[in-house]
């Protein structure tokens, strides 16, 4: 309740300032309108004053934007400072009407409050014998007017914002362009991430599986060349062992490429395998009301796998906690370790992850102060 009151008072203060600005705006509008009329036929050289007028309008519009950002609840913070002068001047030339309206509404609110206060002191002032019905209707009328004006102040604030957004906010086209830019960036990021993964897979195959197979082949080759049967059979025994290790390695690599459990048992099952494979204890909690889309699940899994691997390798952590949950339309995955912190968000692993997350319009945040703990949070839209 107190919060609500404070908010309403803040908005009212903003509207008040806005209505005071209207006076200056009216003056500016008239002056610059006259000047523009007078100089209509002049050559460009003689009309240099115009840039000054436009600069002033820009400055004024920016002042208004700050006023709204400061006093009103909703955000005009995302509006850029007006880049061009003409829309700013048009804005100033129309805004005084809203400012004036705000002034009128505030005035009416004061009048309503005055009448409403009759409820308190009217009984002592008014001769009730002569005007038996004077106090109550006036006071209740005032209360009603006050109520309307309180709503009106909100409406004026809303109009104020819509007006500045109309003149100075991004046009549909700019919004689209911004979105296209984002998409182009995330697409390039995905392509890069895919390349990185392919490189990693190639390396995995060569540095893991192939080395083991070559070592196995060497053992067999030595066994064949061994002069005595005893040595030969010992080498064969080693080769047999090496072949099993090569198989394990192959399975691991295949798993790192794509965990089959994701398709079979979903995110929870895949995360369990991450926990099983980790060298340190991993506490796992998976609270998903429904099944998120497969792409979101896959990205969440890879984020978890990478984060846990990093924690085991670099952080010196003794325990990792992985939480997957639904938060509204989002799938939120949080990986926390109790290690020494200082994780590098621009490292290749985390960078690849953030690209993958960005491709789904999600966000990835890495908080890793020196001394820990490291918290990696991925939020993935599931719409």
């Amino acid at each position: 309740m107190r919060n609500l009151l404070a908010r309403r008072l803040r908005v009212a203060a903003g509207v008040l300032l806005g209505s005071l600005s209207a006076v200056a705006e009216l003056a500016m509008t008239l002056a610059s309108g006259l000047w523009l009329l007078v100089t209509l036929g002049w050559s460009a050289d003689d009309r240099r004053g115009e840039t000054r007028i436009l600069a002033a309008a820009r400055w004024w519009a920016e002042l208004q934007r700050r006023r709204m950002a400061r006093w009103y609840d909703t955000g005009t913070a995302d509006l850029a400072a007006p880049l061009t002068g003409m829309p700013a001047l048009s804005y100033v030339a129309t805004r005084w009407t809203v400012g004036l309206l705000g002034g009128v509404v505030l005035l009416a609110a004061v009048i309503g409050a005055g009448y409403a206060s009759l409820l308190v002191w009217g009984w002592f002032l008014v001769d009730l014998d002569r005007w038996p019905l004077a106090v109550a209707p006036a006071a209740f009328g005032g209360l009603f007017l006050l109520f309307l004006c309180v709503q009106g102040v909100q409406a004026v604030a809303l109009m104020d914002e819509q007006l500045i957004r109309h003149f100075l906010g991004p046009s549909d086209r700019q919004t689209l362009e911004r979105r296209i830019g984002e998409l182009a960036r995330s697409r390039a990021g995905v392509v890069e991430a895919v390349h990185d993964e392919r490189r990693r897979i190639e390396r995995d195959l060569h540095d893991g599986v192939q080395q083991r197979l070559v070592a196995l082949g060497m053992l067999l080759g030595r066994a064949r060349r061994a002069p005595d049967p005893e040595k030969s059979s010992e080498l064969l025994r080693q080769a047999h062992e090496a072949s099993q290790q090569a198989l394990v390695e192959l399975r691991d690599v295949a798993w790192r490429v794509y965990p089959a459990a994701l398709d079979e048992g979903g995110l929870a099952a895949a995360l369990e395998t991450v926990a099983e494979r980790a060298a340190i204890p991993v506490r796992l909690s998976c609270e998903l009301r429904d099944t998120p889309p497969p792409t979101a699940q896959a990205v969440a899994y890879f984020v978890a796998a990478e984060a846990v691997t990093n924690a085991v390798k670099h952080s010196g952590a003794e325990q990792v906690t992985v939480r997957a949950e639904r938060a509204g339309e989002l799938l939120r995955l949080r990986v926390e370790d109790d290690g020494r912190g200082g994780a590098d968000a621009s490292g290749s692993g985390l960078l690849g992850l953030s690209r993958r997350v960005a491709a789904l319009d999600g966000t990835l945040s890495v908080a890793s102060p020196a001394g820990g703990p490291t918290v990696i949070t991925a939020e993935l839209p599931c719409a």
Partner: protein, 214 residues
């Protein structure tokens, strides 16, 4: 022979070292990156260094760079480069830097223990050894195909083996013909490829490979 091994895979280093010790060679050092390799060679130059192309930190061609440096600074040490893939560029670079005591094998060739040991011996005694696969590619993708077209099948077999670094005697054994027959083939190949017959076996190989590969 005294051998230094450089490969970032511990598994393979150990395996190779055991294999070489089995065969009576002496492994003076086994290291995991190019820097350590150059240090080890500087302190005690061996007869031959077996070097993996891909080593830390970037896993691209550190091993090859080190191999070229070794050939320049320590002429007495042969270099046998092991590579995951056939990279013509690598083969060419090796050949343009060194005229003898170089070898370039596919890593998997180590599994063919006999061939690997044979290549090691050749490179260690200032010869050359090039992987059959490398040679095959050089022959296949050579930009100067025309003179090759003029070779008979038999001559092709001979030039491929020569390019790998085998001696005439060895080729004769492999093809079950007399050594003088092989010499005849070789001369005929040189005529057809318009190469002057230089003395010194590795230089001939070099000439052929350069001719084909660059």
């Amino acid at each position: 022979m005294r051998v230094i091994l450089a490969d970032d895979s511990t598994l393979l280093r150990e395996g190779l070292a055991r294999l070489l010790v089995d065969e009576g060679h002496e492994v003076t050092a086994a290291v995991g990156d190019a820097e350590a390799l150059l240090e080890a060679i500087a302190t005690d130059p061996p007869d031959i260094a077996v070097v993996d192309v891909r080593m830390p930190p970037t896993h691209t061609d550190e091993g090859l760079r080190a191999a070229l440096e070794i050939r320049e600074k320590w002429p007495g040490t042969g270099v046998l480069v092991l590579s995951q893939y056939v990279e013509r560029r690598y083969a060419t670079e090796l050949l343009t830097t060194a005229t003898e005591g170089v070898g370039y094998l596919l890593k998997d060739r180590v599994v063919q223990v006999d061939e690997f040991l044979d290549a090691l011996d050749r490179v260690g005694s200032a010869g050359t050894a090039f992987d059959p696969e490398v040679v095959r590619q050089l022959l296949t993708f050579s930009s100067k195909v025309d003179p090759l077209q003029r070779l008979t099948d038999r001559e092709r077999e001979v030039i491929a083996r020569m390019a790998q670094g085998h001696t005439n005697a060895a080729i004769a054994g492999q093809l079950n013909v007399s050594q003088s027959a092989v010499e005849k083939y070789v001369n005929s190949i040189f005529d057809k490829l318009e190469l002057t017959d230089t003395t010194g076996y590795s230089r001939r190989v070099l000439a052929i490979l350069r001719f084909l590969g660059t």
